[in-house]
């Protein structure tokens, strides 16, 4: 068994798929795995693959042309999920996809398709949630948001905010992965990696309070109807882990 390994970036994953396919070892004789590899198998050879833009672009183009755009969307979202085996799942999905073409995403009786469908749905749902529950705080002219998503959804959610606030300076920071989406006023947003020092500095922005954070908490409390209080329903709709960075659930600093 040959195991192809690569870093946890979309480009590296696509390159890894390209190299595994081009190795002509036979789909059953190889496996794909994300780094870091904690425990090596006894009878496996490990091949590390470095990200290569042109190879990744070729894979993306083939998925879009030979399978469908929907299949590409699902592959991208699945790659952003936090399932450890996602790279191999994507590979199996594509093996079936290049054989069957456009109808791939509708073949829900195949386990490969269902697996990717589930992963992509999970990532998509989470991206939608962070579209909703992300909170920005104002620091000078810049709006800064901190999130801690399970799936890597910062780039996806940032696309929504780029459309929503095109003429504002803002940034969205994934505290765990140490990456940020930065959007300068009237320009396209870009993704960047943060150093530990930068992150430490940026953490402080969350303590920033102004009149509108207070007003928002006031509104949040006034709008609930006491006779209908139902915290179970509230928890179902907005699970506790999403509330970590939500202004209305943070204790007031000044009181």
């Amino acid at each position: 068994m040959t195991v192809f390994t690569c870093e946890d970036t979309f480009e590296a994953m696509m390159t890894c798929i390209y190299d595994a396919w081009a190795s002509r070892l036979g789909h059953d004789n190889l496996r794909l795995q994300l780094e870091p590899v904690w425990q090596q198998g006894l009878f496996c050879t490990y091949v590390h693959v470095d990200a290569d833009f042109s190879k990744a672009a070729k894979v993306v183009r083939s998925i879009q042309r030979k399978i469908s755009y929907e299949a590409y969307r699902q592959v991208f979202l699945a790659a952003m999920s936090f399932e450890p085996d996602r790279l191999d799942a994507i590979y199996r999905f594509l093996v079936l996809g290049f054989a069957s073409g456009r109808k791939l995403t509708q073949m829900m009786s195949r386990p490969e398709v269902v697996w990717i469908f589930e992963l992509s749905r999970k990532a998509n749902t989470e991206a939608n949630y962070f579209r909703e529950f992300t909170r920005f705080s104002q620091v000078g002219q810049v709006y800064v948001a901190h999130i801690e998503p399970k799936c890597n959804v910062t780039a996806i959610s940032a696309a929504h905010f780029a459309d929503r606030m095109p003429s504002e300076h803002w940034m969205m920071i994934d505290d765990n992965r140490q990456i940020a989406a930065v959007h300068p006023k009237d320009q396209a947003y870009y993704m960047t990696r943060l150093t530990g020092e930068e992150l430490k500095q940026l953490r402080k922005t969350e303590e920033e309070e102004d009149i509108y954070t207070d007003l928002w908490r006031e509104f949040f409390e006034s709008i609930a109807i006491e006779a209908r209080r139902n915290s179970e329903c509230q928890r179902n709709n907005m699970p506790l882990w999403y509330r970590k960075h939500a202004t209305e659930f943070q204790r007031r600093a000044r009181q």
Binding site: V114, S167, L215, W216, M238
Partner: protein, 508 residues
């Protein structure tokens, strides 16, 4: 009445959000609009909720009243003129600042602006329009705006609001004219339905002018179905209803409701006999280029304050969808706020389960191709407390079940309890490429704990199940019970005494 000057913004927000919270509609859905450089905001057709309040209801829009001053004396309302409450009013600029600043911090998806009737409907509507105009033009706000139309305001002002907002709503308040007379002496159905009719006609005209169909778009599942309440009378589902001995649409509604009620125009199609707004003066050309109320109209009804049955409410709802082409009808469980002999006593728990059942039925009308008459009838005017309307319907039509998943058509699959539009579509698409079995269905999102009593895969049911009403009912009630109890009691108490008779159906 106490009027205090010099309230802070925070105090005003407290009073006016508190006064607005009994308005139910808080959706930001129905219109897709991209952001624009130099402007703030976009809009997503699916709607975006931003938070959930302690009562579990979503917070999508900044829901406030412009003022809680009111000259009307509706008995159920907190802001009625005879109540001694603290009154406040926002200036239009305060509304704009709040909206824009909240929006930039991603607290809200837009503004929901309602108001008490201050001095006169015209005066109030003018203030509302002023706020919206400022927000759209000076603050360059491109997000979602939901505005209440105040019945009795001049047409010009209502039209202006329509060009500035995304959704308009006129509250029907109560389903019959009689109840309205009793509880809201200053309002009449005629006055409420006139702006509703005009808004819906103007929407239709604008849609035709830009090459769309006169009727609002409905969900994809409804388009796929063909039948249902949004297509013309009859259709396959209508026939089925007639066969099973239910009252069809043929029966005139007038027989069931007092004459001056919703049947102001009988059941004419939406685009017959238009009466639309003339263009308002004072708006700039850019404002008139906006689509008129692109996210459509909605309304709301209070339930539990008056003796109407569920059947009556659902019939009214269906009628509103068909005649006024409303996008949504909302129900609001009555929370007793005022002491009055005509109203339930203070402390009466709001009928939350009933509200829930009505919403479930509303979904069945809008997405599943059901008609009101299939779900309820004169003889059975109220929903089953123990079972949701879809299970209830399926149990009364066991002759149609079980359904073979691998061959049944879309509309039949959609009527199986536990299967919704999305999973029905997935079933229809994927069975072309391979036979489906129960594990596949589970992965696709079918709720098998409800569905497995009604389906076969490859000719087999999941478990050996007698197709027998009493047996299946008993099983399904067990499935629904936890949910029902939660809705009714919230999560105030954690435990409850088991009852031999109630919990195990020994009494019946």
């Amino acid at each position: 009445m106490e009027i205090r000057s010099g309230l802070t913004l925070q105090e005003k927000l407290h009073i006016l959000a508190d006064a607005a919270k009994y308005d139910v509609a808080c959706t930001s859905s129905g219109v897709d609009r991209r952001g624009r450089e130099g402007y703030l905001g976009n809009s997503v057709a699916a709607g975006i909720c931003h938070s959930f309040a302690a009562d579990g209801r979503c917070i999508s829009l900044l829901k406030i009243l412009l003022t809680n001053h009111c000259i009307y004396d509706c008995k159920y309302c907190l802001n009625r003129v005879s109540n001694d409450t603290l009154r406040a009013a926002f200036t239009p600029r305060e509304v704009c600042e709040l909206t824009v600043e909240f929006y930039k911090r991603n607290y809200i998806e837009g503004l929901f602006l309602s108001s008490g009737v201050w001095k006169s409907p015209a005066y109030t509507m003018e203030r509302i329009c002023e706020a919206l105009y400022l927000l759209r033009n000076e603050y360059r706000f491109n997000g979602y705006i939901h505005v209440k139309a105040i019945p009795g305001a001049p047409d010009e002002l209502l039209a202006a609001a329509g060009y500035l907002a995304d959704r308009m709503s006129v509250n029907l308040e109560l389903p019959t004219g009689e109840s309205l007379r009793k509880l809201a002496p200053n309002k009449t159905h005629k006055a409420i339905l006139r702006p509703m009719r005009m808004v819906s006609d103007t929407i239709a005209e604008h849609r035709l002018a830009i090459g769309k169909s006169a009727q609002m778009e409905r969900s994809r599942s409804t388009q796929r179905l063909g039948g249902g309440i949004f297509s013309g009378a009859g259709g396959r589902i209508g026939e089925r209803a007639d066969q099973s001995g239910f009252v069809g649409d043929a029966r005139p509604l007038k027989a069931q409701m007092p004459a001056e009620d919703l049947v102001v125009r009988g059941s004419q199609p939406v685009n017959a006999g238009r009466e639309s707004f003339s263009l308002p003066a004072g708006l700039r050309r850019r404002d008139l280029q906006r689509p008129f109320v692109p996210a459509g109209q909605s309304t709301q009804m209070i339930i539990g304050a008056t003796p109407e049955t569920d059947y009556h409410l659902l019939k009214t709802t269906q009628h509103l969808y068909q005649t006024y082409d409303l996008k949504r009808v909302f129900f609001s469980a009555y929370v007793p706020l005022n002491e009055d002999s005509a109203l339930p006593a203070l402390g009466t728990p709001p009928p939350l389960l009933r509200e829930h059942r009505l919403y479930q039925a509303d979904w069945l009308l809008r997405f599943y191709g059901f008609h009101a008459d299939e779900l309820l009838s004169e003889e059975r005017p109220d929903f089953n407390e123990l079972l949701d309307p879809k299970c209830d319907w399926a149990l009364r039509h066991l002759e149609l079940f079980p359904v073979e998943i691998n061959s049944a058509d879309y509309s039949t699959i959609l009527r199986i309890p536990g299967i919704g539009p999305k999973s029905a579509l997935r079933i229809v698409q994927s069975r072309r490429y391979g036979k489906l079995d129960f594990p596949h269905l589970k992965k696709m999102g079918v709720v098998l704990k409800r569905a497995h009593y009604f389906i076969t895969c490859g000719g087999r049911m999941m478990y050996p199940t007698p197709i027998e009403e009493r047996y299946i009912a008993r099983q399904l009630i067990g499935v629904n019970e936890k949910e029902n109890w939660q809705i009714r009691h919230g999560s105030k108490t954690g435990f409850r005494q088991l009852s031999l008779f109630e919990d195990f159906q020994l009494g019946a």
